[in-house]
Symmetry: C3
């Protein structure tokens, strides 16, 4: 059959201030992807008959403030697969099961200052691995349950399986309730293994919704990284006010645990189903040597150093095409 | 509402000779973008109701002779914004107001050998900054007047505002007459400021048209760069013959002023509204230590050294899709 | 007239093992482009009237396992030209005439383990140059004969014509028979010239088809590289079993000739006209110091060293959109 091919993307840019808490580091900043990472992609599917479909997707990040592409051009997604009533099997680079499940409890949806990426995507922490290359990915939906499983080849030709990764997650969604759990493991070869696991959920009361998240990430012989979040949303007219508090630390054996507390605040104002304005503020407080950064969707407001407190503010527009 | 998404571009390639005036440097050359820089882009808009639209555009240069992309992939344009009867506000990377106004007096339209880029886009001069990242851009049209204003954040976190840029331009077009003026300023921090300003215009007599351009660019403690151009076009059948003379120099305090005189000649022959053939020749004469290059749209025929005289010839095709 | 613009590509990914014959180098591997290099492109044409068309095409390789783009983004193709009943003339980067003719005798169609790229695209051999930048390319079809000619400018400004390339090929196809021959030459300047030439063909008996290929590549003062192949295909239900044997060597004056023998096996199972599954195995045996690699479409399974015997297996899916 003919393949339908869709060119799609998200254009998200904002203007504000960012401050990594160095003596003179505050400046007007134009941000790309505060709410959702700016991107451009091609996806499609072909009906093969008998309920079977071929599917593909490539997706590239775009820095919508400077025009820069990501270092690996299509690093956001490069998959091809088959889908049917039993689910979808894909080969290539895709989100991990853990990352997709980790977003369920985030009222900010992995976007805006102070979202749950502030735990999952820390440069120095382990959080949740966002994507995996060279993977065999499975997603299946059965009633209200979505199951995801992944094996990604480390392609280590030294015989040590370095980089091999396994992941599993489940999401249950029914009416106002969504809950999710995940577990994934990476082989670091002689250095040991790493595990990531967590749970989260949201409950939607109509005018209000609340979200909870807990995550843990453990690499052999390194400090464990754990975090939790509580967030809430409140509808105001056609828009919504969002707030989230996150606490995380690294469990250093026999020493102080570098930790961070962060808050994120946002107001999202829809202009249509595809376009909205937003205003958002976030602040992160590092303690005991912590140097965690404050995340937005596309990037991070870094801490200038240990115990520095990054913060940022932006107003912007997100358009999904 | 649904977003309309358009994939568009320009495929421009030609074959000829280029000579930077080194002893053995002349060779058959296949050029990309002699008339218009070869490119590929995605743009679209969504009707938000009440006369309001969301708009976006990303655009990438393509070397249509080798397949190479630009170093910054979408460096030609990466904007998202809102448009209405009051104009359009965009965030991201875009042309500067000065660059767009500077093209009004160029009969060659910033393309073909010897066009006004020969002044604006000199590596060693200052000319007119073509684009700015991290910008807040405004364009409004009122009757025959188009006003453009820009603030671009230098995002200098050292407290010195290095790279902050401001620009303003106006274009008046009515019947056969178009005139334009611009002014823009860049903050270089402790090194001082830079200003760029100029005026230009064209008058269309029907069979003939003439264009004039003047530009000046001044950075504190550096030689001022000034240039002017006179150009003309004459219709021949369905095509047009174009010619332009440009003179420019750097005002070195207490010394000889490196300068250049250039001529550009071209014939443009339309095959349709979207496709044309062209033949073009340009020559630049450097004097008093000048090392200016001869520009076409996508790139430059460099001078081999001080006082060298680059020249080039090409025939080619431009297709706009 | 309006230009029709098509976004197209191939998504090909598989999973299997690859072994370059180093002591511990075998590992599960996710491959991109085993059958056909994964890619993404934009092409179109405009009807100019009188039987004349403007045509363009840019095409980019995509590593569908990791999301990586090629080093030169649109290196697969970047052409613009004119087409009519007399043929098509294109400027830019395109396949060489020799490469396109060299595929005629390859039953595996330059894809799957052990295809004819194993001769043409050896890193250390000379084979057949796949593409040329800065080219003037001609293709014309007259009855069953397709003629291709190319001149590509080396753009060598030192006066030595280094990199200038000429190519010519012809393909005759009538009913079950296809035959092809090519010759091309590259100027290496003071180091001399290089020639590539060969012949090949296929005959389709209905249930069976057989293919033969012979190629030679000679650079002045370097060992000649020659190879030949015999391949066959047999239909099995809706699918096809393919097999090919290739033998190649480098003719070293007064010494042993490094050589390789390779076999490729594959089964291709169509799910539709645009989508198929495949399973393929290939093995290459290097002798007398040979270090040839085993090719699939997008890349190579390298030999770990001299006389190493690379082999690989994969099952995968190819979707053409």
């Amino acid at each position: 059959a003919q393949t339908n091919v869709t060119l799609y993307g998200i254009a998200d840019a904002g203007i504000g201030m960012q401050d990594s808490d160095a003596p003179t580091d505050s400046a007007v900043t134009v941000f790309s992807g505060v709410q959702s990472t700016s991107r451009f992609g091609v996806r499609g599917s072909e009906d093969l008959g008998g309920g079977l479909k071929a599917t593909f997707n490539i997706e590239a990040g775009v820095n919508w403030d400077t025009g820069a592409a990501d270092g690996v051009f299509w690093q956001r997604r490069a998959v091809v697969g088959l889908a049917s009533s039993w689910g979808e099997v894909r080969l290539g680079r895709d989100y991990t099961p853990g990352f997709l499940a980790g977003g369920v409890g985030d009222v900010m949806g992995y976007g805006l200052f102070g979202n749950w990426l502030t735990f999952t995507a820390q440069a120095g922490g382990y959080g949740i691995t966002t994507r995996a290359s060279n993977g065999l990915h499975y997603t299946g939906s059965f009633g209200g349950v979505t199951v995801r499983a992944m094996y990604a080849a480390g392609e280590d030709y030294t015989g040590n399986n370095v980089g091999d990764m396994y992941g599993l997650s489940g999401v249950y969604a029914a009416g106002p309730l969504s809950v999710a759990a995940y577990w994934q493991q990476t082989d670091f070869g002689p250095a040991g293994d790493g595990q990531q696991y967590g749970i989260g959920g949201q409950y939607n009361f109509g005018m209000f919704r609340v979200g909870l998240n807990y995550g843990a990430a453990e690499i052999d012989n390194q400090p464990d990284h754990t975090g939790w979040a509580i967030g809430a949303g409140m509808k105001v007219g056609s828009g919504e006010i969002l707030a989230q508090y996150i606490q995380q630390d690294l469990d250093v054996a026999g020493g102080a645990d570098p930790s961070a507390k962060s808050i994120g605040l946002a107001y999202v104002h829809p202009l249509s189903k595809r376009t909205n304005l937003y205003a958002t503020y976030g602040q992160l407080k590092n303690e005991d040597g912590g140097a965690f950064g404050l995340r937005y969707s596309q990037s991070v407001v870094p801490a200038a150093g240990a115990d520095a407190d990054p913060k940022a503010f932006a107003v912007g527009i997100r358009h999904m095409f």
